[in-house]
Symmetry: C2
Subunit: 156 residues, 2 copies
């Protein structure tokens, strides 16, 4: 390949990559939007669960009011996840496995485990008399709900 032609081809590739990035941002398809929405929901789940998990592991101090707020928000946002897997979001840039839509009842059961566990955790943090072991167990139950579903329905 000539030097000039190579420059042209590298340039064309970079243009394509750039165009793809712009198109992703500016005119996402309904499927892309649904996937991005879901990923945002789970980022908010993780952002609120993270400090609680670190606190339960003794890695982060958390005033009771902060723990209560994180846990309350976690319980709220986990509910959003229940509608974050519409059929349209099945194919695209996602680690969500097709099994989600093929074994929907089982998937929904695991999602319910998550919302149940986050509600319990919110209850424990709202209870000033709760013991540290109760808090740790409730955090562990949320972590297990995440893991149980990821192991089965999310690509590694």
């Amino acid at each position: 390949m000539s030097y000039k032609r190579m420059i042209r081809e590298v340039g064309a590739t970079l243009l394509l990559v750039g165009a793809a990035a712009v198109s992703q941002a500016q005119s996402a398809t309904p499927a892309e939007k649904a996937i991005e929405y879901r990923q945002a929901v789970f980022k908010v789940v993780a952002g609120n669960f993270g400090p609680l998990a670190q606190n339960a592991q003794g890695k982060l101090e958390l005033p009771p009011a902060a723990a209560r707020q994180y846990a309350g928000r976690l319980a709220s946002i986990a509910e959003f996840a229940r509608d974050a897997f519409p059929d349209i979001s099945r194919e695209g840039k996602t680690r969500a496995k097709p099994e989600i839509w093929n074994e929907r009842a089982e998937f929904d059961r695991l999602l319910k485990d998550l919302t149940d566990a986050t509600r319990s955790l919110a209850g424990v943090t709202a209870n000033a008399a709760a013991r540290p072991e109760e808090f740790k167990a409730a955090v562990g139950a949320v972590g297990n709900a995440c893991k149980g579903c990821h192991d089965r329905f999310r690509e590694k």
Copy 2:
């Protein structure tokens, strides 16, 4: 530049770009994480406000139960935005202007406009006797709250 050297340099650049992408995903700094969290919160805001705005504009049919759910969630997630601008998230890949942190009281006032407006909208959608004009006005108030803050505190 020699052909071989150019190949090497292009390869090195691509490696750097790839490494940056991986590091972004796998070991984001606390600032990057805080910015990504905030952007996720606002994506969830937009994902729930979008259908309501389209409905108010006559572009999308929405059963009352769906409107109620979107509006309830919008009111919930808007509350998350209030803590989504920690000092640490001031600098990075963000359109949030430094004025947010320099004029914090004014910024917080505009954020409160948003949470107030979303709560009102949730109230209207929960009221079966509400008239379409009330719904449109409540949607408009949320849109104005978004725009008022973006015009002042977000880069174009």
